[in-house]
């Protein structure tokens, strides 16, 4: 090719971005260098041909979703990702509880047999890990804050235990959040246009009952704010779940002192009843219950 000549200026020259002096020097070089002149002509011809292609027309009307573009928020709302072929625990549609449009989401997990053990946690609901229960078993979870609980009086009888997994702001930059920590090779990143989700684990396969440390970050594309997001562990159907729906088996929670580079990690336990060969998914969601951001698969070995 023509490296060492003016090839690096072809694109700027095509776009008319060169200063008058630079353009003069560029043209002078082309006049003296047949290789550059031919190469620039080739690029110009190719780009012109692309630009001359006629625009296309959308062949059929766009179908918009029903309702308002700003849907009314319900207090008890199932994340769409989980509605579509997934259930929380056994049969009961546990849910993402969207406290309000402008505040963080609260995910509530529970089941009908409310004899579940619960244990106290501080009001932020972040201390103590949550044991991931097998489908059909009780989930042990930190109690939600009094404020969260007060939002749900009608649900209290249904909920054996529930946890506040509100996305919490982290004092790090978008760039820092996107840097997957060393030692977390199993990772996925997705940008859906509104939020960017990052999720990573230290391995891609885990034994039944194994503990999974999770690096999860949610980044607001507009403002760049980084948070520790609502996250779900979704597993395959079990004998106790109805139909072929996959089942959310746990909501990973932050654990005091469990950090990477000084920032909190999430942790969850693979159900002891998991079977080698099964796949589970770690699903990161934004505050919008329609908005699954990123999914990472782990295998049971």
């Amino acid at each position: 090719m023509v490296s060492g000549h003016v090839e690096s200026l072809f694109s700027a020259a095509y776009d008319g971005e060169l200063s008058p002096d630079a353009r003069t020097a560029f043209d002078r070089h082309l006049g003296e260098c047949s290789a550059c002149a031919a190469a620039f002509a080739e690029v110009t011809t190719a780009v012109d041909a692309l630009r001359e292609q006629p625009g296309a027309r959308m062949p059929h009307p766009v179908r918009l979703p029903e309702g308002s573009p700003v849907p009314e928020r319900r207090w008890f709302e199932v994340p769409a990702r989980l509605v579509q072929g997934r259930r929380l625990l056994t049969g009961l549609t546990a849910a993402g509880l969207v406290a309000a449009a402008a505040v963080a989401a609260v995910v509530v997990v529970g089941h009908l047999n409310s004899g579940a053990d619960t244990r106290s946690a501080d009001s932020s609901g972040v201390s103590g890990s949550m044991s991931a229960a097998a489908p059909g078993a009780a989930i042990q979870a930190p109690l939600a804050s009094p404020q969260s609980a007060s939002l749900l009086p009608e649900l209290a009888p249904l909920l054996g235990g529930f946890t506040d997994c509100s996305p919490r702001a982290l004092p790090i930059s978008k760039t820092e959040a996107l840097e997957i920590p060393t030692g977390f090779p199993n990772h996925a990143t997705e940008d859906n246009g509104v939020s960017t989700g990052v999720v990573a684990t230290q391995a891609s396969s885990f034994a039944p009952g194994g503990t999974v440390d999770i690096y999860a970050r949610l980044i607001d594309d507009s403002g760049g704010a980084v948070s520790l997001p609502c996250t779900f562990l979704v597993g395959p159907p079990s004998a106790s779940s109805s139909g072929a729906d996959e089942v959310t088996v746990a909501v990973p929670t932050p654990v005091a002192g469990l950090t990477v580079d000084g920032q909190p990690l999430l942790q969850v336990t693979v159900p002891a009843t998991a079977v080698a060969g099964q796949s589970f998914e770690i699903v990161v969601s934004s505050i919008d219950p329609d908005d699954t951001v990123v999914i990472l698969t782990i295998q049971i070995s």
Binding site: P54, P65, P71
Partner: protein, 191 residues
């Protein structure tokens, strides 16, 4: 009414304000998606998915222009759909039922029409041969004619990265088309 005014109405729950945005951008998004995926059906799915996502997400948009944001979502959708589906051979000028979508100028004679069709096919293959980031760069710049700044916003990369990707992509495109007689007639004459 400009995009921001329509967006304000959307934020207030006005469903009807969304329709003009669809009409304003659907064809250029479709053209972009067609060049990125090479497949009319996939491109239509990209546009549908883009506006479905946008319908719920756009009212929450802050600090970005509607146009650049829609391109951002459409690029992501194109990547997702193209990655998920096996490549389906298609005439770039026909939809899945074989109807011609983008006829060249009807005033052209049959030879010119055939040449345009050959050019379209060569460009389609050349674009599909480019690595994804470079294909996106050259399509946004030379098909949709986004500014460097709009591209930086749509792709969440610095302007310098945009320029370097465009430059590299154009070089690769030219190399991919070098042997195409429909684009470089002299290549054919040399034979």
């Amino acid at each position: 009414m400009d995009d921001e005014a329509l967006l304000d109405r959307c934020r207030r729950g006005d469903r009807e304000a969304f329709t003009p945005l669809v009409h304003r951008y659907q064809d250029e998004l479709y053209t972009m998606a067609l060049r990125l995926t090479g497949n009319p059906a996939d491109a239509a799915d990209v546009v549908q998915e883009t506006f479905t996502r946008a319908f719920r997400s756009l009212p929450r948009l802050r600090g970005a222009t509607v146009r650049a944001w829609l391109f951002r979502v459409a690029v992501n959708c194109s990547h997702d759909i193209h990655r998920q589906r096996s490549r389906r051979p298609a005439d770039p000028l026909e939809d899945t039922e074989g109807r011609v979508l983008d006829l060249p100028d009807p005033g052209l004679g049959p030879e010119a029409t055939a040449l345009r069709r050959e050019q379209a096919g060569a460009i389609r293959l050349a674009l599909l041969a480019l690595p994804h980031d470079f294909r996106v760069a050259v399509v946004l710049r030379d098909v949709n004619q986004l500014s460097y700044e709009e591209m930086a916003e749509a792709l969440s990369v610095p302007v310098g990265t945009v320029k370097s990707r465009i430059s590299r992509a154009r070089g690769l495109l030219a190399a991919a088309l070098r042997q195409s007689p429909a684009i470089f007639p002299r290549a054919e004459e040399a034979w």
